[in-house]
Point group: C2
Chain length 200, copies 2
Amino acid sequence: MVTAEASQERADSRRKRLRLIEAARSAIAEHGLQASTTDIVERAEVGVGTLYRRFGSKEALVADVLIDGLAEIQTWADAALIDADPWAALSGFLYAFTEAQLANLGLAEFTSGQARELPPEVAEHGSLLAAAIDRLVRRAQEHGSLRADVTWRDLVLISIAPIGGEECLGATRGENQWRRTITIALDGLRAPAASALPPE
Amino acid sequence: MVTAEASQERADSRRKRLRLIEAARSAIAEHGLQASTTDIVERAEVGVGTLYRRFGSKEALVADVLIDGLAEIQTWADAALIDADPWAALSGFLYAFTEAQLANLGLAEFTSGQARELPPEVAEHGSLLAAAIDRLVRRAQEHGSLRADVTWRDLVLISIAPIGGEECLGATRGENQWRRTITIALDGLRAPAASALPPE
DNA sequence: CAGTAACGGAGAGCATCTCTCCGTTCGGAG
DNA sequence: CTCCGAACGGAGAGATGCTCTCCGTTACTG
């Protein structure tokens, strides 16, 4: 998405297109998928007209940015799948996935299903990622380190668990607060399970 | 808050005031703290004027509703504190607290600090509740059933963990999905701890 | 240098929200 | 039952914020 086909794109045009994508990424990370076009073009230091000439709609730009983010996480999941230690691969991926969502509110909104009316292409990338997480889960279960009764859905839910608690009950949110939550959950994910899970 | 001092309030006036509070409760539960006045008065089947004559502002009505909700949860925490089994008391409270927030989006927003510009009275009720949860945590730790390195903050973060995942990655959200997440977390909270938590 | 692709940003047009104002209704005391 | 004023309903003022279009201006490139 970020890479363009080597057409006769004018140099300034290309520069501003890349600036727009980067600006959209940071605006969406901070304010979520409904970050305003005004916010995006101010960060990019371009006019609104430029955004609409290049992308046609705000939705198309948002989709580009989301797909970029999902593709990056996909590479992490794929790398984890060839890690020698299935438990370390799973837990490392879980920390990274959570951190990515904490750093990018838009991504967290997509993961938790709050996204509205996105192009089907985005959903496809989401499904690919879900499949990779499913493989990670099964591999760790076959290895015997992950409790047998969890599914990829449980993993994804745990990954977004710390999102809502960013600034909680007046607490000065520490850098490490989310790591504590994930660590507790990972302890609960270890085999053997201490108690039975309710059915899905 | 719901109960009025026995003044010479006209019967119809009292009826509509109670209807407004109940309507606000359900609107806030469904749409969060920024539920619109229009939504509230339609549920209550009264005019907007009635809302503003009785409560002065939307914010005052929202605060009333929030305080009611917090007070109810406070009674659960207080009851848990005199339960004979500290672990059962803690885990039972955690399930109930989470369920209450799932059933009331506004409450979840307040807990996770997304509330803006609420009267200080609401924050005071939040602090009272936090103190009660702190006592629940310490009691279970002294009893030896809860790992020693968690705090009330960890508990609150876990309680709001399932909120974001209501409808996740296209999954048809099951009634029990949140219970699975909480159960996994509780298994991770049991003493002895499998791994050390990062410092707060 | 000329031609034209790309640009900037004012503002149209729409949606939505809170709160006010005032003519109307109706509860309840005498 | 009558009557008075407390309580009511809801149109709409006024504010904000959003996406997207249009067109005069700028500046890249052959």
